[in-house]
Amino acid sequence: MTSDTQTQLAQPGHPAASVTMPIAKALNAALREAMRADDKVLLMGEDIGPLGGVFRITDGLHAEFGEQRVLDTPLAESGIIGTAIGLAMRGYRPVIEIQFDGFVYPGFDQIVSQLAKMTARHKGRVSMPIVIRIPYGGHIGAVEHHQESPEAYFAHTAGLRVVSPSTANDAHWMLRQAIESDDPVIFLEPKSKYWSKGEVLPAPAARLHQAVVAKPGSDVTLIGHGAMVHVLLQAAQIAEGEGTSCEVVDLRSLSPIDWAPLVESAQRTGRVIVAQEAPGHVSVGSEIAATIAERAFYSLEAPVLRVSGFDTPFPPAQLEDIYLPDADRVLDAVDRSLAY
């Protein structure tokens, strides 16, 4: 498979013109196209059949492909992931939906001890083409366990790939690329943005593990992924009005991280802010801060600053707007960076 190299080839089964749709529909279309293109692709998850999933991402797929391709599984995440591993050994390409971020932990052992290590354990004789879709993050006012950002656990684990789209176009094409990958991919969907619309292009514009500049700028680099990209763009717009030009880099891939655009941007601006909903301690943001310090040391005008969720459990929904970094907290970091 060539998920990381081919970006501009014609895409059979996909509309030849751009279509505007919300992220949820872009994901749905990606699943449908992937299932039509390869009958080894099957979906597994809780309530993903006639209901279409709690977020309706699999809407209509059960009707089109039947219960043998859209598996409404028993409610057991370890069971779902463990049986998906067996199905992959048999030649299938399972795409799993975890209902909410906080529900992935019952399957954690199967992910980190089995799925992630299976190819190495077999010295490459067995591939694990499994995608685990996880709606992640806050801003939906939900009860406990429904608004978390668990990416660091997976980015820390060798053998996994971890990606997170922020736009409808990326949601669509990154999911297609993830399904084509022969490696396990943790696919973090910004659930608060499921109904945010965007243009889906006729072909992917970037590789799966490529970081892209979402908005060019010259004074400060803002780095983030998923829903945080929207916060960064908002912060950049406000800063622009105050005379500060911010460049926003959409990370897109958390493992591996595409360092070149990050380092290049840091070398140009000399000031870097990395923002995430997840707690900051030992996080993806920490890794980015450390690596940029290593690779762009002589260009930096200020230390790389991190803006993140607090190192506490995710709070009750009434407090989530305080817990989650917003444009003001990002701008505060911009001010601190500029003050060095």
Binding site: A76, T83, G86, L87, M89, K117, A120, K123, G124
Partner: protein, 373 residues
């Protein structure tokens, strides 16, 4: 009805002294075991001896510092040889880590098993080259799910359920009484039942999960627990190779027609859990002694003598087994060691920049010392 009725004792065809047990209750099992000719039974005995001698030699290698660890299967050869012979060529087997006889039966080389325990590899062999024998799984019961998923795939492929046992595929998963307490073991039963997966869970109840007795794992017999999940279940004397064969053959052939099953084999781990274990700290020697009198190899040997096989033939089998184990030792002593590239080369199926960068950095670092130190 879901399989045999609730039993008060395990299904048995051979007594501890090797004599045939003939009753109305075991008639169907005797008929199934009748598929095994005297030559088959002699071959089964040879496989048990081979595994026993391999086990003993591997234990010596560990004590001599050649292996980091060894996991003996001594005492469990009877359950395993019956299950091995019950499987068909097209079947896929997901072992735990003590299924040495099954592995050898399906064509795994002794040295490939040893490679795991001398620290050369994690996996040992290519499952595509070992007649469906998957690699060992060390975290207990995790493979109860992998095997179930694989069996679901067989069903989705339409590769079972045609009624032709010589073609329909099935899966066998091996684990023990300790693993039965893991959530994954139960989830495997849930998924197998939900999807009519063509699978048999073969559970060797060897009475001890390292130091914890099987009575701590389950208040009800394990085979009864499986019935509660909707599986056919049977309880067999695991030290009786003929009964193990008959029961497993029937359960596997039912599984390939869409009835997942569960076999609890009543057996005993005669040795330590591993070479790091000390059974004298947790179990009485008279218990060990009572099971030594039920040794499955002695039992089948006595049966073979009753069938007219002479002592010289049995002794010749043992001599061959000793020689195979010695050959394994000779080959191990000259086998190579793992290369540092092995750390990096198969973490992902597709190129990964971080791993490639670290592989290159290590090569540069090592080259910095000059020569091939």
């Amino acid at each position: 009805m879901t399989g045999p009725e609730v039993a008060t004792e395990p299904i048995r065809l051979l007594d501890a002294d090797g004599s045939l047990v003939e009753s109305d209750a075991n008639a169907e099992w005797r008929e199934l075991a009748g598929q095994l000719s005297t030559d088959d039974r002699l071959a089964m005995h040879g496989e048990m001896l081979r595994t026993r001698r391999f086990d003993i030699e591997a234990g010596h290698l560990q004590r001599q510092g050649k292996l980091g660890l060894w996991v003996p299967s001594i005492g469990q050869e009877g359950a395993q040889v019956g299950a091995a012979w019950a499987s068909r060529d097209q079947d896929t087997i997901f072992p735990s880590y003590r299924e040495h006889l099954i592995a050898l039966h399906r064509g795994v080389d002794m040295l490939q098993i040893i490679d795991i325990f001398r620290g050369a590899v994690h996996g040992g062999w290519d499952p595509l080259e070992t007649r469906g024998m998957r690699i060992y799984s060390l975290v207990i019961a995790t493979h109860a799910l992998h095997s179930t998923g694989y069996a679901m795939g067989i069903r989705f492929d339409g590769a079972c359920g045609t009624g032709d046992a010589s073609r329909d595929e099935a899966v066998m998963a091996f684990y023990g009484d300790g693993a039965a307490s893991q959530g994954d073991a139960s989830e495997g039963l849930v998924f197998a039942a939900s999807y009519d997966a063509p699978i048999v869970f073969f559970v060797q109840n060897n009475k001890w999960a390292i130091s914890v007795p099987s009575t701590r794992q389950s208040r009800t017999p394990l085979h009864e627990r499986a019935r509660g999940f909707g599986l056919d279940a049977a309880w067999v004397d695991g030290n009786d190779p003929l009964a193990s064969f008959a029961v497993t053959r029937r359960m596997l052939d039912a599984a390939r027609q869409g009835r997942p099953g569960y076999v609890e084999a009543d057996t005993y781990r005669m040795g330590a859990h591993t070479t790091s274990d000390d059974p004298t700290r947790y179990r009485p020697s008279d218990e060990e002694e009572s099971w030594r009198r039920r040794d499955p190899i002695a039992r089948l040997a006595a049966h073979l003598r009753e069938l007219g096989v002479d002592d010289a033939t049995l002794a010749e089998q043992d001599r061959e087994a000793v020689e195979l184990a010695a050959d394994m030792r000779r080959r191990m002593l000259v086998a190579g060691t793992a290369a540092s590239d092995d750390i990096f080369d198969h973490v992902y199926s597709e190129p990964h920049p971080l791993v490639l960068e670290q592989k290159r950095a290590l090569a540069e670092f090592e080259a910095g010392f000059g020569g091939d130190a």
